[in-house]
Point group: C2
Chain length 520, copies 2
């Protein structure tokens, strides 16, 4: 009789790991979970050596789980810190890009930091959140979608910023009114009962704050011209924003639905004190497993597995390490520069995948003007200008000073253009746009520090930018072990650009590695 396991192994041999995975799922042996179900079970490692390239989240997750199962892991990390793109910057730190150096002169305090890379942990990212729980990384709520933040578009309202609440709720009102107009016709045309019609009418009234005649006039959801107060102050509502101006502005293309997104909707979390608290916690746990300052220069196949050639420090000696398995988490813009015995298909995938450029710029502000003048506590203002976003810190509320994210550019054209500027030019660029939203911006925003990910050594890109075509042609290649080489990182996941992708790709890769060990 063909056992289930044998059948799966057969499929695995013929169609690769992903076929086996699919088969197992179809047989109900490995149900694809509705939500995260934890790291995969692994066969005992019994000291099996694994070299992991990169002490980012993917590499460290793999090392932690493999180590628990008895595998003998070594992580080679080119930087002198763990985390990779999981990174926080504080006063005294230095930012090296390939063609510039910035020294950060910010004050030192727990709330004065910037996360140049990932800065948010969605509530459903249970892989990374689970490690935060396990490693004791304290978390706090971060405001992502703030109804009191500003939306600014040069094409509308004379460029004057509008409150998110007004844009969002006046839009709802207009849409609900339009929907109500379709209802009478729908009732005639379609098999809707009068009761349905009345139900939908009630619903639309609530949805858009329509009056009894199904007209949208104005809503307190959009804010007040004069806020209600004590004694005689009954308040006076704002008039709705002009529909033509709303349409002329591009708010609807992103900002006004941002907070509804799967990956952006509340609850959003962050580590207390900086995203690098996660990388550091992994790093402490794996301190005997990570070789820092170890820059990989060659990857070769051997009869027993693979040989990794690496430089022990920038001017250090060259060393070689061998293991039957090598888990490669190096981002492809860097990996493609390293001579390696990959299969042609893998080499093609490495060259085909384009990385997104992304850049951030941050300022120290000695006055939290966004709280004091604008009543903005955390969250994001949006602009049609290149800087795209201004982020307000959710920590350090009411402290004297704060680090303000003065721009987060990720769409390729914008980020590339911004990255091409010198750090000084970027500051001027960000100030010129920021003051369109906050009149006192230039006076309050000081000591600008910028990070252009395409220029950051050992990353040279922000995150994987799979297209429909490359996803179809090249992504599956990375799911199979290429001889001794396996791949992990956010780029080997369907959650690119998020740390959760790194975690889940590491789980996928070590499951494949475990399967290889099991069937060897």
């Amino acid at each position: 009789m063909l056992s289930r396991r044998h059948f799966i192994n057969l499929v695995g041999s013929a169609g690769g790991v992903s076929a086996a995975y699919g088969t197992m799922a179809a047989m109900g042996l490995l149900p694809i979970p509705e939500a995260y179900a934890g790291p995969p079970p692994l066969p005992p490692g019994a000291g099996t050596k694994v070299i992991i390239l990169g002490a980012g989240i993917a590499g460290m997750v793999a090392a932690l789980e493999l180590g628990r199962a008895g595998y003998d892991c070594t992580i080679l990390e080119a930087r002198h810190r763990p985390g990779g793109r999981n990174w926080s910057l504080r006063g005294g730190d230095v930012v090296d890009e390939i063609d510039s150096r910035q020294k950060i002169g910010w004050d030192r305090a727990d709330h004065l930091y910037l996360n140049p890379g990932p800065a948010r942990l969605p509530h459903h990212h249970q892989g990374i959140l689970g490690y935060c729980r396990e490693l004791g990384v304290p978390l706090e709520v971060i405001v992502n979608d703030n109804r009191n933040a500003w939306f600014q578009d040069d094409r509308a309202f004379d460029g004057k910023p509008q409150r998110a609440r007004a844009v969002i709720n006046d839009s709802r009102g207009y849409v609900a009114e339009l929907a109500a107009k379709a209802l009478d016709k729908a009732l005639l045309d379609q098999p809707l009962t009068a009761e349905d019609g009345e139900g939908i009418r009630k619903f639309l009234r609530s949805f858009g704050w329509l009056d009894k005649d199904m007209a949208f006039k104005r809503t307190p959801r959009s804010g007040w011209a004069e806020e209600p107060g004590g004694g005689v102050q009954a308040g006076r509502l704002n008039a709705p924003l002009d529909l033509h101006q709303l349409l002329a502005a591009g708010f609807w293309a992103g900002p006004s639905t941002f907070g509804e997104g799967w990956e952006q909707a509340a609850t959003m979390l962050q580590p207390v004190g900086g995203m690098d608290r996660i990388g550091e916690a992994f790093g402490r746990k794996l301190r005997h497993r990570i070789r820092y300052g170890a820059e990989v220069t060659e990857l070769r196949r051997t009869a027993q597995g693979a040989r990794v050639i690496w430089r022990d420090g920038p001017r250090g000696p060259t060393r070689a390490s061998e293991a039957p398995y090598v888990l490669v988490t190096i981002p492809f813009p860097v990996l493609k520069t390293i001579p390696a015995d990959f299969s042609p298909a893998v080499t093609a995938a490495i060259h085909a995948l384009e990385y997104q450029a992304a850049a951030k710029i941050a300022f120290q502000c000695d006055r939290r003007f966004w709280e004091l003048d604008d009543q903005i506590y955390g969250g994001i203002s949006w602009t049609s200008r290149e800087i795209t976003q201004i982020w307000y810190p959710s920590a350090g509320i009411h402290q004297a000073k704060g680090i303000l994210l003065g721009g987060y550019l990720w769409s390729t054209g914008l980020a590339d253009a911004f990255s091409a500027l010198t750090p000084a030019e970027r500051i001027e660029h960000a100030l010129a746009s920021g003051e369109r939203i906050h009149p006192t911006y230039r006076r309050n925003a000081a000591q600008g520090i910028s990070i252009a990910w395409t220029k950051i050594p050992f990353s040279r890109g922000a995150y994987a930018g799979w297209t429909a075509a490359t996803l179809k042609d090249h992504y599956p290649t990375l799911l199979e072990p290429d001889g001794p080489f396996l791949f992990a990182g956010e780029h080997v996941s369907h959650i690119t650009a998020w740390q959760e992708g790194a975690v889940r790709s590491a789980h996928f890769a070590i499951a494949a590695l475990g399967e290889r060990v099991r069937t060897k």
Copy 2:
């Protein structure tokens, strides 16, 4: 020449303070600010005595500001703590209602507390937030609107709870599709250009996640049947919720628009460690001004002002204090039981204003099942059942234990019925409903503690419930000094039920007091 001040005083004499206030505003002397402009300027107090009844937020704000201006304030407070309805409960505390006593056996830890009264600070409540800043009360973000929380209605979906994200975004999809249907007709009927039409179509597509044919099929905003993950896990979207079920449920009547509300929209804040941090901070600042355990028993007019008779402790001696001004912040359900020389109009107002009943119940949970099983971090689940809401703590994330708010009832009928139950009955009631949302609820929720505000001594109600009729007939009466008596508290504001109302009413009252001193 009639000076401006003289004219205002004339108006003040004829029409009262509110008329004077309106006149000053109209003359541009006292512009009604778009947003909060801070406490009012006061004429020097020069030791003028003011007795303040109640060390709640209104009374303490008044004492702080009057004290700064040189007035000699004494606060009489019946309780043995400052804050009034600003209150937090922890392990070891006792809850006395008029007919029961509950001892709280919860563990002691910074994150294990309940705010039985106010529990949220909206970002635009700059009065109370300003005092937090001034008094050094650390604040943190509280999740109010969580897209991963549950909406449960016995009338729909077989009573099975649905994720907020699905309810909210499938509703958006249906509304946008309906609106799109009206668009063609609108283009024919109305002076809309083809360009407008194309703009609105793009907008609606984005608003509701419609496809190119303007149909709503499904959206990742509503969540996934299988979430995207690492390796092969591309994810599979949920089908939309059935429209008829959505209409059958009452979600649209509150829960699904809750997060858009003026007073509920993000950003929402809370003091770190409990709402009573605010009351305590005021109490420390005013420690030489507050007489605790001082229960007022009579309020009399004298030739020079007023005499307050009070009992110095429950079995203590009766004392009398006199002052030219008495600021009364005692909630009306209590005030109406105190013999007082108020004018007939004020007495009528005190009796006419009905207070809302409200009740809360909370449990200690030794396992944060909402985080572990439901990926809910903070925010509120809603149910059509009497408990109305379940609140999840925004602090103590990933700690072992937590205090869960197992019900917050405020609509009068529901809260009255719940308040009539014994504490033990309330627990059973809340568990029976809670387990409709969380299957393991009964196993995890222990040591239930409930607070029915109508039964809490010295409050006897949750907050003022002005109706259109009482607001018209009686509210203005409270804005005028009644001889030596002035009134403050959330009930003398257009922000009832919020601490901001108390702050702003205090500012209004001390401005009136200052005006009286100025013109005396």
